[in-house]
């Protein structure tokens, strides 16, 4: 029986449930030293001096590094995404600040000592003399005339300006002609990723070979190799990056960080292994944040609900430096899909990227696509209310119809496949309108407001064709690599350039191998995350691992089978065209008693005693797979919420997710991704949000101040799936890592605003905390209108 499509338990779990995972912070090498960072307490300040002498004099301290020590020794950390036509204002990003600190958490010095205790003592003795400078934290103040400059050479703090779609004039004309126009000011609040494993790095330098090994919490070790080698000035082949078990990333472990290159530098200098482990409080300030847009968005259409024009103006806070993928997130990954799943003929997008004195912003689960989906889904609801139609009906009238694929949107990207209406219908069928009416009545009797929210979405992911990566300025290939090595006993090793860190590809890929070669899951080992083991790879992000990495694996498996078939044909004395592989045995077609086991063929291939002419010994194949398009998973999510008007508290009553990520190789893993993603998206809607004070201090700087979702807040997530194959990749898969996060945020906000609509409340900024909701209810005058009785008048 095929394993594909079956929810087999994960192979990686055996080590992870017994405490045998090997995370970077678990590494303990002989002679290993401990590194700690000294970070700026100021959002913006000139460094007058850094005095490490007292720290250096402490017993057990091996080194103190400062910006001035490393200037000219370490190259600045580059950004890896340069969107064309965006007037990108790049600046030097030193691993340790040279003269100026630009955000709270900016690294100023690193101490390396025998023990954590000694390093802590030393850190406290490093004296930094700062001259505080005025700081800016939000895009509005940063772009105001006369605002303090984050970088002296960047006027107006403008890091980039990017336009996509039709001309603004054309879209404004279309909006003027529209029978109905709705406009919303939207805030995509800043989020702090918080994977449960903090970042960490361990470096070891081997003076005899000149090789540096860096264990790092990375989603993309080959990209880290490239960047670390560049910053350290080491030849790339003398750098080995290993991402062992990585405890979640959500985009925050894509970037090359100062800490990683500094640890590598210290190991090279001191000829001792050096380990740095991020403290959670450091994570809050020193690991990249996500989202953070201020937007003005406008949608026009006809009275019968047909959408005609969309104008988006977004200002994106990029923080103090351009992180690795940062410039591409609010432009390419956001602007090209703002129309969502709808056919809207006239679309214009303007994005201004802004430097501020805050932690750099980069990819966070969904990266640009949640922001895009949020704005269009909020606008569609607002538009429906304006024309007096059911929001579902407006969606139905504008969703791209199944017979229109491939569909090219107004921004020039081509959605390959989809059945958007079918997903919508499926989700609504699960909702059960009769039950909603009963719940609404029950809530009303108990003084609560019930709301239903719907979002449809489409994601552009499975990044991506190399030519497109080049066209949009990404400084990487984005194809993927796989090697399949069959050993003499028929056991199989797979090396993949994908770098999973929770997504379960060790299992998913093993399922593909077992099906194709007819072996068991236990016969397969999937290896990843080591640049000396895997020849090349671009990593795991953008929901690309199974679509692109799985594509490479699929092609490599075909090649292995092709070669094995030649050896089998030779053995069976049949022509290659007559030999078929079924359930682990090669047969001569139509002759059941002439067969040879795949494992036996593997042995023959290795022994090479008798191979057909022109066939080399051994049995392995590799493939580099470059997709021809992005993938486009889509779906409809529905939420039912209750709002308590006395407290502003929101109770999630139901959540329904219908997604089409293509054929599911392991439905259990896919559903796990959906559920986890949904909860993360709900986190943004209801609780999560970074806040800076006017001086640029992060006031949500710990898990006591930044609210992550907890188990007790959620009902079961009801899931269902459509499986429409992607038209262009070998497995037909589309990616699922980000869909839940993309869909859930607007679904929840739409539901809460549906509940509050009778009170005349039509827009609220996230997170929808009880206080914010309560304030809005108070300000609505609803209580007075209800005679102070708190009766729901809906």
């Amino acid at each position: 029986m095929a394993l594909r499509g079956q929810s087999v338990p994960r192979l990686e779990d055996a080590r992870l449930i017994t405490g045998r995972g090997r995370y970077t912070a678990d590494i303990q090498l002989a002679g290993q030293l401990t590194a700690l960072m000294v970070r700026s307490p100021h959002a913006h300040a000139r460094i007058r001096s850094v005095d490490g002498d007292r720290a250096r004099a402490l017993p057990g301290v091996h080194a103190v590094y400062t910006g001035q020590d490393t200037k000219g020794v370490l190259n600045p950390i580059p950004t890896a995404w340069l969107p064309p036509g965006s007037d990108l204002a790049t600046t030097d990003h030193p691993a340790l600040a040279w003269d100026v600190v630009r955000y709270v958490g900016d690294a100023v010095a690193m101490v390396v000592a025998d023990s954590l205790a000694a390093a802590r003592k030393a850190r406290d003795l490093i004296e930094v003399d700062y001259e505080p400078l005025p700081a800016v934290t939000g895009v509005t103040e940063a772009t105001a005339p006369g605002a303090p400059l984050v970088h002296e050479g960047v006027p107006g703090n403008r890091a980039l300006f990017w336009h996509a779609g039709a001309s603004t004039d054309e879209v404004e004309a279309a909006l003027r002609q529209a029978e109905v126009r709705v406009r919303l000011p939207l805030v995509q609040q800043r989020l702090i990723p918080n994977p449960m494993e903090p970042r960490a790095a361990v470096a070891q330098y081997d003076p005899s070979t000149g090789k540096l090994t860096l264990w790092a919490t990375s989603q993309n070790p080959h990209i880290h190799r490239l960047l670390v080698a560049g910053v350290l000035g080491l030849p790339e082949h003398r750098v080995r990056v290993i991402a062992g078990d990585v405890g979640g990333g959500f985009g925050s472990k894509i970037a090359c960080y100062p800490d990683e290159v500094l640890v590598a530098h210290a190991a090279r200098e001191l000829r001792r292994p050096v380990r740095w482990v991020e403290e959670r409080r450091e994570h809050f300030v020193a690991t990249t944040h996500g989202r953070d847009h201020v937007e003005e968005v406008e949608l026009g259409g006809t009275r019968d609900g047909i959408l005609t024009a969309l104008k988006v103006r977004a200002r994106a806070n990029l923080g103090a430096y351009l992180s690795t993928a940062a410039p591409g997130v609010p432009t390419i990954l956001f602007g090209l899909i703002v129309n969502g799943a709808y056919d809207i003929p006239h679309v214009a997008v303007d994005v201004e990227g802004v430097y501020t004195n805050t932690t750099p912003v980069d990819a966070y689960r969904g990266a640009g696509r949640p922001e895009a989906t949020f704005l269009i889904e909020r606008l569609v609801d607002r538009f429906a209310r304006e024309v007096g139609m059911d929001p579902v009906e407006v969606r139905r009238r504008n969703l791209v119809a199944a017979d229109r694929f491939p569909y090219t949107n107004a921004l020039g990207i081509t959605y390959d496949s989809g059945r958007y209406h079918a997903a919508l219908d499926r989700a609504l069928a699960m909702l059960d309108p009769g039950q909603v009416s009963r719940h609404r009545e029950e809530a009303r009797r108990q003084g609560r407001l019930l709301g239903v929210g719907v979002s449809t979405y489409v994601e552009m992911c499975g990044l991506g064709p190399s030519e497109v990566a080049g066209a949009v300025g990404f400084q990487g290939g984005l194809w993927e690599h796989a090697l399949v090595r069959v050993l003499p006993t028929g056991k199989v090793m797979v090396m993949t350039g994908a770098s999973p860190h929770g997504q379960g590809e060790e299992t998913t890929f093993a399922q593909l191998v077992a099906d194709r070669l007819g072996c068991s899951l236990d016969d397969v080992e999937v290896m990843h995350g080591d640049t000396d083991l895997v020849s090349m790879g671009w990593g795991t992000y953008g929901s690309r691992s199974t679509a692109v990495g799985g594509g490479a694996l699929s092609v490599a498996l075909d090649r292995v089978v092709d070669k094995a078939r030649q050896v089998a044909a030779h053995t069976l004395e049949a022509s290659v065209g007559d030999v078929v592989l079924e359930a682990g045995r090669f047969y001569v077609q139509g002759v059941q008693d002439r067969s040879v086991a795949f494992a036996e063929v593997a042995l023959k291939a290795h022994l090479a005693w008798s191979l057909p002419a022109g066939v080399e010994p051994g049995l392995e194949a590799q493939a580099s797979y470059n997709p021809t398009n992005f993938t486009y998973p889509y779906g409809t999510h529905v939420a039912v919420v209750e709002v308590d008007p006395e407290t502003g508290d929101i109770h999630l009553r139901r959540y329904i997710a219908v997604d089409d990520c293509g054929p599911r190789i392991n439905p259990m893993i896919v559903e796990g991704q959906v559920r986890g993603g949904v909860v993360q998206g709900i986190g943004q809607a209801l609780w999560e949000g970074a806040a800076y004070d006017r001086q640029g201090q992060l006031v949500t700087g710990s898990l006591m101040d930044y609210a992550l979702p907890k188990a007790r807040f959620f009902p079961p997530i009801e899931t269902d799936a459509l499986e429409t194959p992607a038209a262009h990749n070998p497995l037909g898969v589309k990616g699922v890592g980000e869909t839940g996060t993309i869909a859930a945020t607007p679904t929840i906000v739409n539901a809460v605003l549906d509940a509050l609509a009778p009170l005349g409340i039509h827009n609220l900024d996230m997170p929808l905390t009880p206080e914010r909701v309560w304030q809005a209810i108070e300000a609505s005058g609803w209580k007075a209108a209800a005679g102070g009785q708190g009766g729901v008048q809906a």
């Binding site: 779990d13 405490g19 959500f250 997504q503 991704q673 979702p709």
Partner: protein, 174 residues
């Protein structure tokens, strides 16, 4: 380090004996070492993870004399004379504990970082309440943060583990 400083250091260390996963560990340890640090850095039991510095995340949860404790909230010296069970000691020989079996069966982990704490919390929870409702399980999981799973599969795993444990205590054929 000067001889005097070394002597002070030694004088400050306190002898303790902690029964860890069934084996007595006797050592002298500085009084400011947390139990989590003792497990990870002194005993190389790195299955216990540290995910925060404010005792919020629960990744470091262990059982101390059968009670659920975040090992970053107590000092190693406070565990003197006690029994500590970490994720490494959860299974009996090669036989997985029912919560481990259930976590695997229900895909209750993704990246695996919070998992040791979640497993120990689940094991402790089921000792206190062998037949919890889904709602009680969700309340009971308040001590951990999982960023990957959305918790639902953890809830299902704990419910399933409760049934598996009930099967274990019930004699066969009963």
């Amino acid at each position: 380090m000067t001889e005097e400083a070394t002597a002070t250091q030694v004088r400050q260390e306190i002898p303790i004996t902690v029964h860890i996963n069934g084996a007595a560990q006797s050592t002298a340890i500085a009084p400011n070492v947390l139990l989590s640090e003792f497990l990870r850095d002194h005993l190389a039991l790195t299955g216990t993870h540290v995910g925060c510095d404010t005792s919020q995340c629960g990744a470091c949860t262990v059982l101390v004399d059968g009670r659920v404790v975040k090992s970053c909230t107590i000092l190693a010296v406070q565990a003197d004379g006690m029994s500590v069970t970490t994720v490494e000691g959860l299974r009996a020989g090669s036989v997985l504990h029912p919560v481990q079996e259930a976590f695997r069966a229900h895909h209750a982990l993704q990246c695996g970082f919070c998992t040791p704490g979640a497993l120990m919390l689940a094991a402790g929870l089921l000792m206190d309440n062998p037949h919890p409702t889904r709602s009680e399980i969700r309340e009971g999981l308040d001590g951990i943060v999982c960023r990957c799973t959305g918790y639902e599969n953890i809830v299902e795993a704990v419910a399933d583990a409760a049934e598996r444990l009930a099967e274990e205590v019930r004699p066969h054929g009963a």
